[in-house]
């Protein structure tokens, strides 16, 4: 099964979308619940929405400026990588080779 992510960004509106396929709906939801509780460190100028459809994690951003968007997307990708590594190390056997 392909695990290709898609990241899309619009330089005019400073919006971005990310889709991350997971091996199962359960794992996608685990990722969603691990990645959504913390608010954005920045008080304003960025909003992020993390949701799940089937076994795909959807993330969408709206930002006032490109640099704010970059920072948020970049940290999200680091955190996502950490979730994937954790799943690989401690998840069910079907999860190996996620990254």
């Amino acid at each position: 099964m392909s695990t290709r992510c898609c990241l899309y960004a619009d330089s005019l509106t400073n919006d971005s979308k990310l889709t991350v396929p997971f091996p199962s709906e359960k794992l996608a939801w685990i990722a969603q619940r691990s990645l959504s509780p913390d608010p954005e460190p920045r008080k304003g100028g960025i909003s992020k929405h993390v949701s799940v459809t089937d076994s795909i994690l959807n993330v969408s951003w709206m930002a006032d400026e490109a640099r704010i968007l970059r920072v948020s997307v970049s940290s999200f990708l680091d955190h996502l990588a950490l979730v994937l590594e954790t799943m690989e190390a401690f998840g069910p056997p079907s999860v190996s080779g996620l990254k």
Binding site: D38, H79, A89
Partner: protein, 335 residues
């Protein structure tokens, strides 16, 4: 039998500890050490934690000789602390809690120190001096809250010491405070510094500005050595801490003192506190560097107490916070 795993990463230490009914089964830890003259920044600290948290977690499980199924609860530091490192560790805790199907528990870092201090020393109801790089508080338990009787009104005492170490380019390995302590032992001259106790509180930012200003000048002119400055700074700040601890003890009629937090490792602070305690006929309790310094087992221990008294944290409420007052938590596990 209740086994709790605890994740701690609010500053530059990342630790994972496992506790079973009052016994520490494992407590591995890594420290992010920066070059001399530099402090640690949130994003780099978070990067350090990201790179080794899973290794430390595996070490903890191996050392304890347990499997994920054996764990009853996953505890992690909710706050206070540095934002980025806190988030990194919370993400791992949330993920393993869900993968293993275990309840999650957000723990207050300060209460982690207190509960581990109580467990290790057996102190019944002490006046607690919590001193570290990030916090300086005098705490006593009353009616289901750890109440703050005195605290710093600006920076923590450990922050004052660490930032002073940077001025003199003192090594951060194993920690700047430890190296200041070693240099202080060789100090021979006491240099007059501001003494800033404010009632039941203390202030350190003025002392830091003062000593930052004079350090270069005095060492260049040979008026005093770095050792003398380290010695003088310790004597002054520790005297202030002993004073506000004594004030709280008098207020509460307490006969026990417990020192927790990284600065609590300092033998000179313990000596000075012991002198005051002897004068009052009180008993001093302190832990060694395994538990003074931030560690995972203290979070596991506080989590153990909280879990057994019925607390858990729902995932949507598991956000971390840089500010988290010690008295915000309801201490449901004590009378």
């Amino acid at each position: 039998m209740t086994i709790v795993i605890g994740f701690e990463g609010s500053a530059n230490k990342i630790g994972v500890g496992i506790v079973r009914d009052g016994t520490v089964l494992a407590n591995p830890r890594r420290t992010y050490i920066t070059p001399a003259g530099q402090g640690f920044l949130p994003s780099e600290t978070a990067r350090h934690h990201r790179s080794c948290v899973l290794t430390v977690l595996k070490e903890a499980l191996e050392e304890a000789g347990i499997q994920p199924e054996d764990v009853d609860c996953v505890a992690y530091t909710k706050g206070p602390g540095m934002g980025a490192p806190l988030v990194t560790v919370a993400i791992v805790a949330r993920t393993v809690a869900q993968l293993w199907g275990k309840p999650l528990l957000g723990v207050n870092h300060c209460i982690g120190h207190i509960e581990m201090g109580r467990l290790v020393t057996g102190a019944a109801n002490p006046t607690v001096l919590y001193v570290s790089g990030g916090n300086t508080q005098v705490i006593a338990y009353s009616k289901h809250r750890y109440r703050i009787f005195g605290e710093t009104i600006d920076i923590a005492v450990g922050n004052c010491l660490d930032r002073f170490a940077r001025v003199l380019k003192i090594s951060n390995d194993p920690s700047p405070g430890y190296n200041i302590e070693q240099l202080a032992k060789r100090g021979t001259r006491f240099v007059e510094l501001p003494y800033t106790v404010k009632g039941m509180d203390v202030s350190f930012s003025g002392i830091l500005s003062y000593i930052e200003d004079m350090a270069e000048r005095m060492v260049c002119t040979g008026e005093c050595s770095p050792e003398d400055l380290c010695f003088s700074l310790q004597e002054v700040v520790f005297s202030m801490l002993v004073e506000i601890t004594e004030r709280a003890m008098a207020h509460c009629g307490s006969q026990e003192v417990l020192i927790v937090g990284g600065v609590g490792c300092n033998v000179r602070l313990q000596e000075m506190m012991e002198i005051m305690c002897k004068e009052r006929g009180a008993k001093l309790f302190a832990t060694d560097e395994r538990f003074c310094i931030d560690n995972g087992a203290m979070i596991a221990q506080a989590g153990w107490e909280m879990f057994r008294s019925g607390q858990t944290t729902a995932l949507e409420d598991s956000w971390v916070t840089q500010r988290f007052r010690t008295d915000e938590v309801e201490v449901t596990w004590r009378d």
